[in-house]
Amino acid sequence: MNEFIKNFAIQFDDTELSEFKAETNFRELDEWSSLISLAILNMVEKKYGVKVSFSDLREISTIQQLFSFVEKNKK
């Protein structure tokens, strides 16, 4: 999980690493944007081999939820 948070956080340039916790609602971060959301989906596919669509992502708002989704769909 810690590694997942780090991989998630690295997609942001200006948000402090300390702001990223499992329960962080990433949609509320100032830096959250459509560019970063695509980067997150690309990262998850590359690092964890799980294809997440924007439709899936829409149902997700915390890093924990995304992590659980990825774990569930890992092959």
Partner: protein, 249 residues
Amino acid sequence: MINNPFTLEGKMILVTGASSGIGRSIAIECSRMGAHLILVARNSQRLEEVLHLLHGVGHTYLSINLTSEDELENMVDALPKLDGVASNAGIVKSQVSQLSDRSDLEQIFEINTFSHIRLIQLLQQKKRLNKGASIVFLSSMSGVYCGAIGGSLYGSTKAALNGFTKALALELAPRNIRVNTVNPGMINTGIFDQTVLTKEQFEEDAKRYPLKRYGKPEEIAYAVVYLLSDATAWMTGSSLLLDGGYSVQ
């Protein structure tokens, strides 16, 4: 019809990526204009289905992987002399630059760029292009007229086709062979079903087009027919942009 400048009557035309989307539409519209077609794609079952949609007779298909150098060479060996090529095969990839690596680049360039260029080089080397033939590359508005987030790789592959077109047009002009590109905006083909985007995102995006919708595959096919026909006998090295007005904004 008497003296129709847009006819493809009797022309032998190769269409790659012909099993779906814009390629399938190109094949159908070319057959309506009287061309004999050779369809190329990987999936023979889908090619067979497209073959049944064609008008007229004398059409055939070859099922190959265009990114395989051996298969490509064997295919060109088996081809008759051509009057036209619609070089269309391609994939999309929605990926931000920061998360892309060499393998991503290689994957998309292999099919979207290298296979197109290698096809033409082999057609030249093996003398499969008739004098007066017309080559049309399916490029894009993306990478040439505008960009999109996640489209840096895709746009690069398409811009490369535009670059190749210009010098190739000069090198083939002495044989009266013409080379042009068609550059479409977003077309409803299903190709984007493979991406991560939602239906709502597409609907929202379509509203950004002055003509308020994405294009239809046949609207691109008509432009390809135009470039393959003798109506454009004095047109080479050019790009034909069809984007519902998107990039003038």
